[in-house]
């Protein structure tokens, strides 16, 4: 058998504490990110069982799901949300966990602040009670979401009991045209392999188009690995990775930096490594993507149409399309550009980083949102992203165009705070899930890139971003 290893094989092997004959392993966890929704029961479990926290300096916590994105000086109005955020604050205080609380300038979406602080580093295992932990795989880390029982397990043992997945490589080659982004690549991938296509695999994204992406773009791609069914996605280390990390608050410095970089450079798949499945895409075939249904695989392109269920031969799939069209209130064969919108949401752990805001601002500069748009909001991924955008004057561009400029958090990606769709409202959203009721009961979500959301805000309906820019 060949000794050549994939990036995932290397990450896995370097974290196995022990392994049973059947492949069940105890895997060491380097970084544990914590937020208010999936942690209270875990802290409670520790207390009930009289267990200690194994390694407090592995944990970074923040409140992101429940926090308001409007004025915060008076705290959280909703008493149930407030209790959950207060509980996180109390738990972090009691156990001595580093927390960026709601009014800390570094607070933000957990998957934005980890990389931003250099708390996510190559070669790490990174977990969080949140499925979009796959985001951190962009740094050649093994990063995946866990449930609350596993959160408690990591707190108590610094390990997880788990089994190795299979290896999948997705090779994306070609040069990105104007108007095509990382979001379009990942939506096209999900459209191709389906929402269960990656189940049982860790995906490594490779190819010239991935290499050409910034870290922000790579994070967008790895983020939505879970929407392709894979718990983890990863990208090998290169100069882009190293340059992004250098100088961040928790990144190593001096001699340790040199030592770390030498190791990080080994975090790539060997040339002859074996992948159980390989998928290839050429970005020249990718057009701006828009979802039409209630699953991320239900995706079309700006020049495409809503499908006709009558054309689907598989009865389970046909029923799925019919249900989705009924929920989305769309007629078969509707042109995507004829879909009119009520709200625009630019934010979430998928697309709320500085590059996302710059690309959206570039589209709306000097223009104004259409009359039919009731609300267009920009929710930066962190306090630091917000400040950077303000330094660059992006907030002014957005406000002049009719957008609301908000405080950082998960916001309308899932509507646990006040940012929600009303029943029947239709939204162009840069988030990651178009499930029924995700953005508010009865709300209708179309997933798009920040540029496409910005273009839709100006036109009032979906439109190719290149038409708006010109």
């Amino acid at each position: 058998m060949s000794t050549a290893a994939t990036l995932y094989d290397k990450l896995w092997r370097s974290h196995v504490v022990r392994e049973d004959g059947d492949g069940t392993a105890l895997l060491y966890i380097d970084r544990h990110l914590v937020h208010e929704v999936t942690s209270p029961q875990a802290f409670e479990g520790l207390r009930l069982n009289g267990r200690k926290l194994w390694r407090v300096d592995s944990i970074l916590a923040t409140a992101d799901h429940n926090v308001p994105t409007t004025e915060r000086s008076h705290g959280i109005v909703d008493p149930i949300s407030r209790l959950q955020v207060d509980t996180l604050d109390q738990n972090c205080q009691e156990y001595g966990v580093t927390e960026f609380a709601m009014n800390d300038s570094r607070q933000g979406i957990v998957h934005v602040i980890g990389p931003e602080q250099g708390a996510t580093l190559p070669g790490m295992t990174v977990v969080c009670g949140d499925s979009h932990t796959s985001t951190h795989g962009a740094f050649a880390a093994l990063a995946f979401g866990i449930g609350t029982s596993e959160v408690e397990h990591v707190m108590a043992t610094q390990c997880l009991t788990t089994k190795k997945t299979k290896n999948m490589q997705i090779v994306v080659d070609g040069t990105l045209e104007d108007g095509i982004t990382a979001k379009d690549i990942i939506l096209a991938i999900i459209g191709k392999i389906g929402t269960a296509g990656g189940t049982g695999y860790t995906i490594e994204y490779a190819g010239s188009a991935i290499r050409a992406l910034s870290m922000e773009g790579r994070m967008t791609i790895c983020n939505m690995s879970i929407e392709a069914g894979a718990r983890a996605g990863a990208v090998a280390v290169d100069d882009t990775t190293i340059n992004y990390i250098k100088g961040r608050p928790y990144a190593p410095q001096g001699e340790r930096w040199e030592q770390a970089v030498t190791y990080w450079r080994t975090l790539t798949s060997d040339a002859d490594a074996h992948f159980d499945k390989v998928v290839t895409l050429d970005v020249r075939d990718i057009k701006p993507q828009i979802t039409w249904g209630t699953s991320p695989e239900m995706v079309s392109t700006i020049d495409g149409h809503v499908p006709d269920p009558a054309q689907e031969t598989d009865p389970v799939k046909r029923m799925g399309i019919e249900r989705a069209l009924a929920y989305m209130d769309l007629a078969p064969n509707t042109a995507m550009r004829d879909i009119w919108l009520d709200k625009i949401f630019i934010g979430s752990c998928t697309n709320s980083r500085i590059e996302d805001l710059r690309s959206a601002a570039n589209v709306v500069a000097g223009k104004h949102i259409a009359k039919n748009i009731k609300l267009a909001m920009i929710v930066p991924g962190s306090g630091l992203v917000k400040r950077q955008a303000e330094t660059e004057g992006l907030d002014k561009i957005f406000k002049e165009a009719g957008f609301e400029w908000r405080e950082p958090g998960c916001s309308m990606c899932l509507g646990m705070n006040d940012d929600k769709l009303a029943p029947g409202e239709r939204c162009a959203s840069t988030s990651n899930r178009n499930f029924e009721g995700r953005q508010g009961a009865g709300g209708r979500t179309h997933l798009v890139s920040p540029q496409m959301a910005a273009a839709a805000a100006i036109a009032g309906h979906f439109i190719d971003v290149n038409e708006v820019k010109n």
Binding site: V17, R18, D22, T24, L26, Y28, D30, V37, T38, P40, Q41, N49, W54, R55, D57, S58, I59, I80, S81, L83, T98, G123, M124, G129, D130, G145, I146, G147, T148, S149, E150, H153, A156, T157, C159, T161, T195, A196, T199, G200, I226, G229, R231, Y250, A251, P252, R256, W257, Q259, S295, V316, G320, L414, M416, P423, R433, F435, G437, R438, A441
Partner: protein, 213 residues
């Protein structure tokens, strides 16, 4: 966690693919800091005609008579029969908590979202993966036979239909061991404190930059 014992349970068919955890337990109910009480809000937006908020008295809600879990013939069901990719989406463990709290103990589907699958096992909910053709057959039989029950035998990894047909299923040996014995996984892992400590010490020497918060 309770020991998973052999039982005969009523089957409720939920004929949809890609049921996500947002549908299983909508986000407004995730604000609780407890592990219990989620059952009344299982599939909330499908199960009720009025919008659900935390703390509502279930007695005042308007159940959707069309939703399968609300039909009288399925009251007391313990086995959920459903389609591909059940439990995809968010990592919320509130999903298996809600399913168990409602009274279901087994979910049968051709495939599951991975995090949901893990979360289920850790709470004593048994997810059974069965080929799509077998699931199809069980759907047909459940629809045709009011009061359709299956025998679930985890020890022998076997599902038995009312006419005595047996269907074998695969289960991870470690998961099986934990479920059958109702074991606390953290307790099991803490048997290896020495190994973890030794591993960590070496790691700290080789990659000191990982220990920095």
């Amino acid at each position: 966690m309770q020991k998973f014992k052999k039982f005969i349970g009523l089957v409720v068919p939920l004929d949809r693919a890609n049921i996500d955890t947002d549908a299983i337990i909508p986000k407004q109910f995730l604000k609780s800091i407890k592990r219990t009480g989620f059952g009344v809000n299982l599939f909330d937006s499908w199960r009720y005609l009025d919008p659900g908020e935390p703390g509502m008295d279930p007695g005042t809600r308007k159940p959707n008579p069309e939703f399968v879990l609300n039909k009288a013939i399925y009251h007391g069901a313990e086995i959920l029969l459903t389609r591909e990719n059940f439990g995809c989406g968010s990592s919320r463990e509130h999903a298996p908590w809600a399913i168990l709290d409602f009274g279901l103990r087994v979910v049968i589907a051709p495939s599951f979202g991975e995090i949901f699958f893990n979360n289920s096992v850790k709470n004593g909910l048994l997810p059974i993966v069965m080929p799509a053709t077998k699931v199809d057959q069980l759907f047909r039989e459940t629809m045709a036979t009011p009061g359709y029950k299956l025998t679930i035998d985890l020890e022998r990894q076997m599902v038995t239909t009312p006419i005595g047909e047996t269907i074998q299923f695969v289960v991870d040996p470690f998961h099986k061991h934990c479920l059958l014995n109702g074991l606390d996984e953290i307790g099991l892992s803490l048997q290896y404190v020495k190994e973890i400590t030794a591993f960590e010490k070496e790691r700290r020497q080789q990659q000191p930059w990982l220990f920095n918060l």
